[in-house]
């Protein structure tokens, strides 16, 4: 899977959980889920569960703690896909 394709899948998932005052165009690679995209911890869990389904991977509590930005999420997805 190409990086661009992965990024698009992740963006599409994040878009579902964006609050009304944030636009899909606001999603940047360095966007912080909570500080920039206003996503709360409950919705971050849903993003993680959707990411697990989309990429057929499983994330742990440590992964969630490290997943602060979109870039962090991309890095974790890459690691999990390599370990598969």
């Amino acid at each position: 899977m190409q990086e661009e394709e992965k990024y698009q899948i992740l963006k599409d998932i994040i878009n579902i959980y964006l609050p009304e005052d944030v636009n899909i165009a606001d999603i940047q690679e360095d966007s912080h889920f909570m500080n920039n995209l206003n996503i709360n911890s409950a919705n971050l869990v849903d993003i993680i569960l959707d990411v697990e389904d989309a990429f057929d991977i499983r994330l742990e509590n440590d992964d969630m703690d490290q997943m602060q930005t979109v870039n962090d999420a991309m890095a974790i997805i890459d690691i999990k896909l390599k370990d598969k």
Binding site: N40, S41, A42, N43, L44, V45, D46, I48, L49, N61, M64
Partner: protein, 171 residues
């Protein structure tokens, strides 16, 4: 006259009562751990609970203050309180059970994160309701459940999906 049979049946009756009390008390610790008190405790008793489901009851007492205003001269239990009852039984009791009987529960932090409910039948003052909740998932401290509430005639009062964050913070 004691024919032996009567004696035995009395003994069994007593045994039944003791067993019922034991069954009732075995889930009482969960109700005791709930971070609610009157007038905002909406759980009387947990009847059954396991890793994936919980069933509990509550009676909406006719002397509750909110019946005076909801509605004027026409007391009906507010939907938000039916939702609250479903959440206290279905999410919080199950969450406490899943987190386990440990001393750290005093540091439990909870918050409802989403609710989607449908209301089908009204609940009037004094009615006892039964809540049945099935776990959808409990991951990353988020507990999501499908809940159903029934009245004494086993009619579906309301149903929906509730989610909340539950964590023990001991920093």
């Amino acid at each position: 006259m004691d024919n032996g049979y009567g004696h035995k049946s009395r003994w069994w009756r007593k045994f039944d009562v003791i067993e019922k009390q034991m069954t009732k008390n075995s889930f009482q610790w969960i109700v005791d751990e709930l971070p609610y008190a009157k007038p905002f405790l909406f759980v009387d008793e947990i009847m059954s609970i396991d890793e994936t489901s919980v069933e509990g009851t509550y009676r909406f007492h006719s002397d509750a203050a909110f019946f005076g205003g909801h509605f004027k001269n026409n007391p009906v239990t507010p939907g938000v309180l039916l939702t609250e009852c479903c959440a206290q039984v279905g999410l919080v009791c199950l969450g406490i059970y899943l987190l386990g009987d440990n001393k750290q529960l005093k540091d439990l932090k909870i918050g409802m994160s989403s609710s989607q409910m449908e209301f089908l039948v009204p609940v009037f003052p004094g009615e006892r309701v039964r809540v049945v909740s099935e776990r959808v998932y409990f991951r990353f401290q988020k507990l999501k459940c499908d809940v159903k509430m029934y009245n004494k005639d086993n009619e579906l009062v309301c149903k929906g999906t509730l989610a909340g964050m539950m964590s023990i913070t001991n920093e």
